[in-house]
């Protein structure tokens, strides 16, 4: 029996040679961007010591660069940026709510434990 419940959405994603050229250009752009960001990260990590005063800024720079890289991988390489808005938010929103919550809870708790040890050692 021929199945009538399958709609071949995959056929809609086909594109022509010219469109392919444009897409490949974008892929190469993202490649260069990811490579450059990685190189910058390595240089900053190797040259700036964690004990230096600039480390606070460097740490945040790492986190921002990581998020930029992640965004390009997810939205461009994984084509989530080309999907419907509803799909995009269904994937991203629950994930971010969970991740941000967990980061907040565990880092707060971790610092509290550290402080508790400090107090314990002083007494």
């Amino acid at each position: 029996m021929e199945r009538d419940d399958i709609i071949e959405y995959s056929l809609d994603t086909h594109h022509s040679e010219e469109q392919g050229k444009v897409l490949r250009k974008k892929i190469y752009f993202v490649t260069i961007l990811l490579t450059v960001l990685t190189i910058v990260e390595v240089f900053m990590g190797a040259l700036i010591k964690q004990t230096s005063e600039a480390w606070g800024i460097v740490k945040w720079a790492f986190i921002v660069m990581t998020l930029v890289k992640a965004a390009y991988i997810v939205l461009s390489f994984m084509h989530l940026g080309d999907e419907k808005k509803s799909l995009r938010y269904m994937i991203l929103v629950p994930y971010f709510i969970f991740a941000i919550y967990l980061i907040f809870v565990l880092l707060t708790e971790g610092l509290a434990i550290s402080e508790a040890w400090e107090t314990y050692r002083m007494n």
Binding site: S10, K84, Y95, A99, S114
Partner: protein, 346 residues
Amino acid sequence: MAGHASEQIDSATSWGGKVSPFSTSYGKLMMWFFLVSDALTFSGLLIAYGFTRHGFMGAWPIGEETFHSMPFLSGNYPLLYVALMTFILIISSVTMVLAVEAGHRMDRKGVTKWMIATVIGGFFFLGSQAWEWSHFIHGSHFGKIELADGSKAIVHAESFGEIKNFKVTKAGHHHKKGEVLTSKDADLLHEYQHAAAAGHIHNNEITLHDGSIAEISKSNNEKVELIIKETGSKYKALNARIKGDAASKMYEEVINSGEKGRVVYGANLEINEYGPQQYGQFFFFITGFHGFHVFSGVLINILILIGVMRGVYHKRGHYEMVEKTGLYWHFVDLVWVFVFTFFYLV
């Protein structure tokens, strides 16, 4: 019976749907669901790592001090090897997205070419990780030492003095007095480290496995630097450094103390020379779990590649299978971006 019923009521009446609210196929949607759950697992692991690190009293290992070796080269190359691994994974992600793009043009040759490149990239990454693990487990030439005041320090130096030979001064079961053991007879470094960790080196004399005692002939270590990682009664400052002759002398004192456990080499699940034991456990678990994902990714890519070469997807009229395995492969790259930042850099 269910099949019978569904024949009588057509799907439009029963569900009134037939259209995905997301305009995407079932397979792709399920892959996204899987990836979200897998992403939550990795977040849990990395955040647990952050939790442990924040709650730890003492200095946590620093990426550029822990990972600074390159295969075939001696010397200090902070983070370069990990950067290389990251780059390999990024490039294999790019070849994957090019394979997907070729699939959208129904270019079978292009898909084959880029899929092969992706598989090769995956193998390169796995090989790099095998080297990294091996290096992490075997450790450095110097190890981590416990100083006289109870503080613990990791050791950096320009070079490790070559061990020339062991000259037996007291016979054991195996070796006779006066015998000279060179690198041809035994793995001297291995014997030396083993004896140092067990407290079998005292006053430049090493007690070998067979009970014989030998004098060590070894060149000096150059530019030794001790970095204090755990506070003792004298050295309190975290990450404080001791340089120059003092450092060299202190290091030799520890090695020649004849006390067991004053020096630790390499890493296992109980102890490691880089820092607290949780550090080693997180290293093995997080990079191991990621490496397992890469391994499965390479296997899946090979299966899909076989399908591409046999023309399975060409006959089907679309290369969605390549797209789905591509999603998984990009995800593996995505996770590594985070592991790279939070395990190696920060």
